[in-house]
Amino acid sequence: VTPTRIVDLVRVLADAGVEFIIVGGVAANLHGSATTTVDLDVVYRRTEENLARLVRALAPFEPYLRGAPPGLPFRFDVGTLRRGLNFMLSTSLGAVDLFGELIGGGTYEDLLQDSDASPILGHSTRYLSLERLIVTKRATGRPKDLMAIAELEALLEERGKR
């Protein structure tokens, strides 16, 4: 059993100064969703400096392509990140998805204005706004997301009542 250490994943990224925005299920949780999620999805900024920070942050935790057969010549380094865009990884801290760009969502720079920032684990941590999260989930059009969208919209209504 590999425990998912989402708190530690967020901490190592933030401690390394990585510029990222939490999206997906963990962002929904940060807004108050009651649904449990087992991986961390982030949109990362694709500057050379940030790619280097990302590598420094995650390299000690054995990142590998999730679901890929063992033994592939996968190197988690700046060159690999530069040549690719979105990476679904397993690490010794759990699953983490790194998005250079979100479907229906855009890049780090695009999403910045639609993100919230809160003090989390000693850092000002960015996560996608509830409204943009709903728009993004709707854009993916996956049937499995329908219940999640319903919960997020209910959350938006409840927040509006406060």
């Binding site: 250490r5 989402i6 949780n29 919230d116 219940m147 319903a150």
Partner: protein, 61 residues
């Protein structure tokens, strides 16, 4: 810090039906917490799940 007021989201009849099944009491409880507390609660839930998987010998992710 919360973002600006929501843009208009067109109503979706399927989502509106599904919304009736959402347990809003849990959402209201969560809204009283800070984002950091919500994250730590998520981690506690995941730790509990991992413990259950260990006890019952269920392979986890």
């Amino acid at each position: 810090m919360e973002s600006s007021p929501p843009p208009a989201l067109a109503p979706d009849p399927i989502i509106d039906v599904l919304k009736r099944d959402v347990d809003r009491t849990l959402l209201r409880e969560n809204l009283q917490r800070t984002p950091e507390e919500r994250l730590l609660n998520l981690q506690r839930a995941l730790d509990g799940l991992a413990e259950l998987r260990k006890v019952f010998g269920v392979p986890g992710r």
